[in-house]
Symmetry: D2
Subunit: 352 residues, 4 copies
Amino acid sequence: MAGNVFGKIFRVTTFGESHGPAVGCVIDGCPAGVDLSAEIIAAELERRRPASTVSSTARREEDAPEILSGIFEGKTLGTPIAIVIRNTGQRSGDYDELAGVYRPGHADWTWEAKYGRRDHRGGGRSSGRETAARVAAGAAAKCFLAAYGVSVSARAVSIGGETEEAAIEALLEQRKAEGDSAGGLVECRIAGIPAGLGEPVFDKIGARIGAAVLSIGACKGVEFGGGFAAAASRGSANNDAPLLPPRSAEAGAQNASFADNHAGGMLGGISNGMEIVFRAAFKPAASISRPQDTIAANGGKRRLAIRGRHDLCIVPRVLPVVEAMAALVTADLLLEQRCAPAQEARKGPSFH
Amino acid sequence: MAGNVFGKIFRVTTFGESHGPAVGCVIDGCPAGVDLSAEIIAAELERRRPASTVSSTARREEDAPEILSGIFEGKTLGTPIAIVIRNTGQRSGDYDELAGVYRPGHADWTWEAKYGRRDHRGGGRSSGRETAARVAAGAAAKCFLAAYGVSVSARAVSIGGETEEAAIEALLEQRKAEGDSAGGLVECRIAGIPAGLGEPVFDKIGARIGAAVLSIGACKGVEFGGGFAAAASRGSANNDAPLLPPRSAEAGAQNASFADNHAGGMLGGISNGMEIVFRAAFKPAASISRPQDTIAANGGKRRLAIRGRHDLCIVPRVLPVVEAMAALVTADLLLEQRCAPAQEARKGPSFH
Amino acid sequence: MAGNVFGKIFRVTTFGESHGPAVGCVIDGCPAGVDLSAEIIAAELERRRPASTVSSTARREEDAPEILSGIFEGKTLGTPIAIVIRNTGQRSGDYDELAGVYRPGHADWTWEAKYGRRDHRGGGRSSGRETAARVAAGAAAKCFLAAYGVSVSARAVSIGGETEEAAIEALLEQRKAEGDSAGGLVECRIAGIPAGLGEPVFDKIGARIGAAVLSIGACKGVEFGGGFAAAASRGSANNDAPLLPPRSAEAGAQNASFADNHAGGMLGGISNGMEIVFRAAFKPAASISRPQDTIAANGGKRRLAIRGRHDLCIVPRVLPVVEAMAALVTADLLLEQRCAPAQEARKGPSFH
Amino acid sequence: MAGNVFGKIFRVTTFGESHGPAVGCVIDGCPAGVDLSAEIIAAELERRRPASTVSSTARREEDAPEILSGIFEGKTLGTPIAIVIRNTGQRSGDYDELAGVYRPGHADWTWEAKYGRRDHRGGGRSSGRETAARVAAGAAAKCFLAAYGVSVSARAVSIGGETEEAAIEALLEQRKAEGDSAGGLVECRIAGIPAGLGEPVFDKIGARIGAAVLSIGACKGVEFGGGFAAAASRGSANNDAPLLPPRSAEAGAQNASFADNHAGGMLGGISNGMEIVFRAAFKPAASISRPQDTIAANGGKRRLAIRGRHDLCIVPRVLPVVEAMAALVTADLLLEQRCAPAQEARKGPSFH
């Protein structure tokens, strides 16, 4: 309910509106002994800030995280970790003229449908600012995963359909001149993940990662391994031949257990020790300066050109967010595996 | 945990192995007064049975559901609804020669990695048989939704990349002759859905539907509205212009509130009253009679040709499963909306 | 929500109305390899049947459980275990004259307040019949616990305030003659429980057991160790002196770690290796044949004498229910301990 | 899992160790439009501070709450509410001599059993300091309830077994002189609560309140209405005669629906419109200056007299904590009632 809590064991509650005092999160269930500091979190948040590129316009955002609990002498205690990131740099004035009209492609319309009112000042909790809290929590998850040799990394595959850097730059310059925007495709890989994570039936690892990634604003699709291309393939091509049995010591080596990876690292909803590979599609940024048709609250037609500072394409900023969500799911599944029903009942008090 | 429970309020627990006495489900949280009967459930299950087509091979499966609780005089009581479907028609012998080898594309390998053992007889709980329980639960959800004027329907968009019926038939004949299989693409529409469902941040409606659909075996991707094509689009084309304000009486008419539906019925993770439209990609059926490379439990190389009865393409059978999952999510979100934080505090005992 | 699901990992969903076809449960999260059979479950259910004693009147109830899933060759698979117990022996006619009046002390009044209607035929899901499903699930939990050397046993401490058997018999004969009823006090001990179970803050072991026991119908109070008497004690008397440090091998011996057990087996919400000891108070059976004042649905005053078959005191029947709830909580906490944040992050794939 | 999250819809995550930078909470699911401010929260926290009485010794604690999110112009937004309370006034030195010995009656021993280590400096997250976060969250719940005309108030019934004020003072003086401590009994009433809250079977209102109250440190028992005395009573005396039918307009008046309230405001686990009345037993404060037997980490016997600042009896400080937990449960149940299965399925988009 309310949708602000994520995860089952490695559980994260986020808070904060873009125009309130702060955003942040509380992480419950992170094991003890993990190296974590405000510096580590700040480094992840830095990746999220709008860079001075053609793609993004720099809104002044400063993300200096403060850890209020759960850490002692640089290591997690196993108690809840509260991280606060103060808000600075919002300029309400930028948004005043948007009061009373619905920005196409934004949540203004649906927010009002759901809540009966709308915060026109930058989107409140529906804006991109809340992703700062996700990235902070993801930083903790990544530190936990690091101790297992698991790493998560995302990259932009294409922007506006272009894959080559020069073509991307040209396309973005064009869109900027037109007052328009571009979407993009992100690929993410989870390396070093052990086999056996995920639960058959409803908690398949693809379902868990998919839910996490689809919860990122502007994400319109997710695919694993062969993905949508597999729908047009054949079994003899799409099946990956096993090379090593599950329990073989060699099976631990990255990407050695199967001849190929159309499966994207999962079979029957359970990780198979190959890299998890997935791609996420992000729609074009909704705020554009080019005039659009819309309506006002009373239904009257309006033409709207959104001035101010907004991104041409959110993909560069969303990479750490995709990684954060993938890391949170992987951390959660690692911990869930410890109490999975596979564990045979054992006699005696040593049940660890 | 354990992954056999789905949903938050309209909650479903499924049970049953393909070679146990029965499969079934218990539905908790279904409101009272919904018309439901064993006949209604049986009709949905019938759609799931392998039909006598080139695509599927008929395994004798009889799905005669029995309702053990929660219904009185044809209507739900509001108490848990237990539905049992006895297993018949399994033939263990079909699977004996598979003991000791890992079927490529199946969960054999990962099941053993996770549980330390493997049930070679038809997949146990990783087989398609457990979808019968999902479809039974989905039938109840559909009945609940019907009272709201909400309907769910899925169709096959393409099989093996082909969209035209004649080309599909030809492709399937070809694959059959080759001892191979085909994947396919399913499109599902949720019509009549009110605006305002879904919670921003982590419980976005796309995340919830995505998780549900990606939990179906063989599903390798899901996209909403413009989906992956939106990644190559521009804002001016992808944004849908609002035509009616949220609270307008006319906004209730299906598909009248926006000029287009690239959004696929959701903005900012909240339904906008337009049809929800999503597509799910299914990989080719993994069991093929054409020989494949694999290994035995001791690591020795094997050639495997899977005889017996298996589908060329699972898409025709999976349509009611996709609908069931979409219906379960929609029912859940409808009920969650009732206790969403949007509800202002009111004085007095009449808090309904 | 809906209140029919219990537990976090060892999770139970119960179903069934007293006048429907069956009651039963689905257990999710029970580890694999636990010895379990219909015979074991039937033996526990037998303890719950009304015995031919002065205290109880025998209603014909037959509890022949059927296991529909999750067991293979006498051991759990780790998949959901569905248990069905068919209803027999209800006689609707017994209850017809109760239609239209509210039985004092029963849920008739509140059920109607909550649901807007009422099932006068024996209480539906508010009757004692649903405890059969709890006892069946508890049987599975007990089998799991047995492998750990953990046992649960409840006994009647007093009935109607009397502790000696002769006095109890006399009191019950008296109440029967008067057409009245009696309450009682139950004590339950969980032996062999390892130290370390329970989570500080909200999931203290006392809170979890308390919730479980207070969910049993007619339970009006629960206390642990010194309980309500501790409220009148002093620290020097109530504190238990430690004799052995936590990690000492000898600490595993039952009841050896502390000089006394006013704590009832828990400190700071975490088990300390001593026996868990708690007591539960049950109010007198509400159905009595002696006339009582009540009202009809239209508010008119009535005098009501409840004929038919009802218990003088529910305590003898409730002992296996108390044990079942305590066993379910203990099983759940044992599994939760496996993924508690105490587990330090470790490098490498062996995360078990 | 991890035990730091409480509630299903009105959900609270607490954080903070007594020796970290801050304690606090995040409240998710609080409806919009509730009056809430830092001043209101501070007033509740003030009640929790150790007063200058014989019973408590004043440790310097300053609780100045800061609200970081979820409030706008004095009203809740419906988004998560983050409340931070900075820690001041801890003096580590007070605790240094306790390193290496287990304080009888405290969680030192069990914390080490569970986590393998122990924070000797004031109990970390097992100390009373974490109750500040509960009281802050409870303040928000109370504000929400106020709009419904529901109020919660707790009082001390007895301390050390004494009920009269003069006798209590004398007893506490005596215990202080002896270097000992006292326990006590708290009674709490929830007035104005509507009928129909709570779910039969596992989420009975008594189970939910019981779990909440038993999660408060030092609580060793809870009883409702007649409680443990009902165990020695008879049906004719314990049953409360209904005076008004459930739906009668007059039934809304406080305490008018039944002739008596042995039920403590609940029947069959569902509130009946009468005051909820429960009592909670608190054991004597465990820290006493009088010497006690204990052991060191290596098992060697020690005599321990705990110097420094500690309470003679925690009851005066725990009253706002008991109220907070009762308010949190009541707020949660009010919201759950909105999506209870009682709600009949209705046709059309107006599903509110």
